[in-house]
Point group: C2
Chain length 351, copies 2
């Protein structure tokens, strides 16, 4: 146990912490099922069914976000093609990038590539760091009015001289594929209301639970972190699916005690290896949204990425877990593509 803890202890790398930045990996593991097997027929079956089996080794099933995301992209590609042929419409996603942050440029490039793989048109505007807020707003206004654009995404963070809230609020709610508009969040919170879009990362978390056949209704779910982009909407989504949800955050006095009660854990706090194996209820399902760079002299980059959950310990206790990377990360972009498709279908009343 000591060596395992040592293994999981890592000081954050000197590189910028990606703390809860948009779209990054998760970890997952099933709930009341202590051990389970995944029966998957890669191309045809939508749900990867999980069957309990008490005879297997005490090691969690790894929930493969990369494979699930690929499956979802394939499904989206089929729909995009059907829409193009039947209605002559190609869904379009516009991305606005301001400044020259390398990480942001990488995210945007990945989104563009993902759009290409499913046949979604991607439009992009790259504005210099010293652009004015008005220039950004003008581009948003143009995309708002452009009928070939069904989703608009402003890559965050924006340069510090801009008011992020003003900029995000300028995106027409019908094209806000990020789902961060307060009106969307309000609808997500309210029973009997439907949001236009569900924010991509939390949507990806729930989609992984669904695709792995993890039952949510009536289960104890603990969300660690209460950010606007992951923790809070993830808690609202779990509640919509009838989980009993608790939210743990920096002011929580006894996080271990509460986390230990969870059948489903969604960790989105940006603390490397914060959740230890001893904090996890045997058989819990873990979705790890954290993606934290920590020093790793053995890597050529000098660092490696780890989640918010101590994977080496958790994998021995949980019934299923998402790896970092390769868990939630790929799901986030897949959900962005799905939201763009949903938007195009809605705008063109295509079913």
């Amino acid at each position: 146990m000591a060596s395992s803890l040592t293994h999981c202890y890592s000081s954050p790398s000197s590189t910028t912490t990606l703390l809860l930045r948009r779209r990054h990996p998760i970890n997952v593991g099933p709930t009341s099922l202590r051990f389970f097997t995944i029966h998957s027929s890669p191309s045809s079956s939508r749900v990867l069914s999980i069957a309990a089996s008490a005879t297997e080794a005490s090691s969690a099933k790894v929930i493969d976000g990369k494979t699930v995301a690929k499956q979802i992209r394939d499904e989206i590609a089929v729909e995009v093609s059907r829409m193009r042929e039947a209605a002559g419409v190609i869904p379009g996603l516009a991305v606005i990038l301001v400044g020259d942050r390398k990480d942001s440029a990488t995210y945007v490039r990945n989104k563009k590539k993902a759009c290409e793989t499913v046949g979604i048109n991607s439009l992009e505007v790259n504005l210099p760091e010293d652009s004015t807020e008005e220039e950004v707003l003008n581009h948003i206004a143009g995309y708002n009015d452009d009928p070939s654009v069904h989703g608009i995404l402003v890559q965050l963070p924006l340069p510090s001289h801009m008011n992020e809230q003003n900029v995000l609020n300028a995106v027409r709610i019908e094209k806000d594929v990020d789902g961060f508009h307060p009106l969307n969040i309000g609808r997500l919170a309210m029973r009997g209301r439907e949001p236009l879009f569900v924010p991509c990362t939390p949507k990806g978390c729930i989609e992984l639970l669904h695709r792995y056949g993890v039952s949510i209704k009536g289960k104890r779910a603990v969300v660690i972190g209460r950010s606007n982009i992951v923790g809070m909407p993830a808690a609202l989504l779990l509640q919509r699916e009838d989980a009993t949800v608790s939210i743990v955050h920096s002011r929580t006095t006894n996080p271990e005690e509460i986390i230990r009660q969870a059948d489903i854990i969604i960790a989105a706090v940006g603390q490397p290896n914060m959740v230890k194996g001893s904090w996890i209820k045997p058989g819990a399902v873990i979705i790890d949204v954290g993606i934290n760079p920590v020093d790793d002299p053995s890597s050529s980059r000098g660092y490696k990425l780890v989640g918010d959950v101590c994977y080496e310990e958790a994998v021995k206790v949980a019934s299923a877990i998402t790896p970092v990377p390769g868990g939630v990360g790929p799901m986030t972009i897949a959900m962005l593509l799905q939201n763009t498709l949903i938007s195009a279908k809605r705008i063109h009343s295509f079913e």
Copy 2:
């Protein structure tokens, strides 16, 4: 204990259950403080301070919503008068009542009376049961444009032939003193955003905690019930104040276990005496929003009102508790008046 349980067991009355209808009583009791005394200077002190005292009898302090509501109304009256004198503006609340439900008529009458006591203008329109949705919408449009109206309230429930969502959405968000608009709820859920109005009943619950000096930050809070008008916004408010919040609902498999962990309980589920004394952590603070009619042959009305918490049992375990009636009920109307004042101040930029 058996007799106590028997005492708390009551079958719902044959009269319509007021299950989570707008604006009704709560119960409260303090958190980490097992016993406490309230030092209150009726007119001048805003906060009723609570001091721990281990020597008192093992009976919860009764949180007197009626007295607190009166205190708040007095404060509002001062502000209304100051605004009238300094800016020549009188806050106005318009209430739309459709149909002739007796309970709705009573609620509306109480609101009108409350407005009078603080100097707020109250406008009222009474439409017949068979009015069309368009007629209701026309009245809302009129109030939306009327500069003497700062708050608009549509008394629910509406007749079944109307679309409640359409009607509520027609109220201008700047005058939606109920705070039920999804945009408001979204802002309530999001960190760094501020709602224009906080829904009255949950706002009243938190206000009682504040006025009784109950510390919320870092405390375990359990909200029982997840309605759009009480449970859900109450959970969001507790979270904004840094409580660690869990939401218990009809699909929760082990409500007792979770409720027993709570330092603060807000019960808003509409089940008479559902929460037993044995479900309560010693020293917990209980806010009971339930107001349920149960048979009572000894009453001239044939029924009495009880909360969601078995009061007789809870009072022996909790450190503070709101009675039913006389707890949250009066607070709800006080918060409505406060929201109307806030709206008038905002519209006229009066500070």
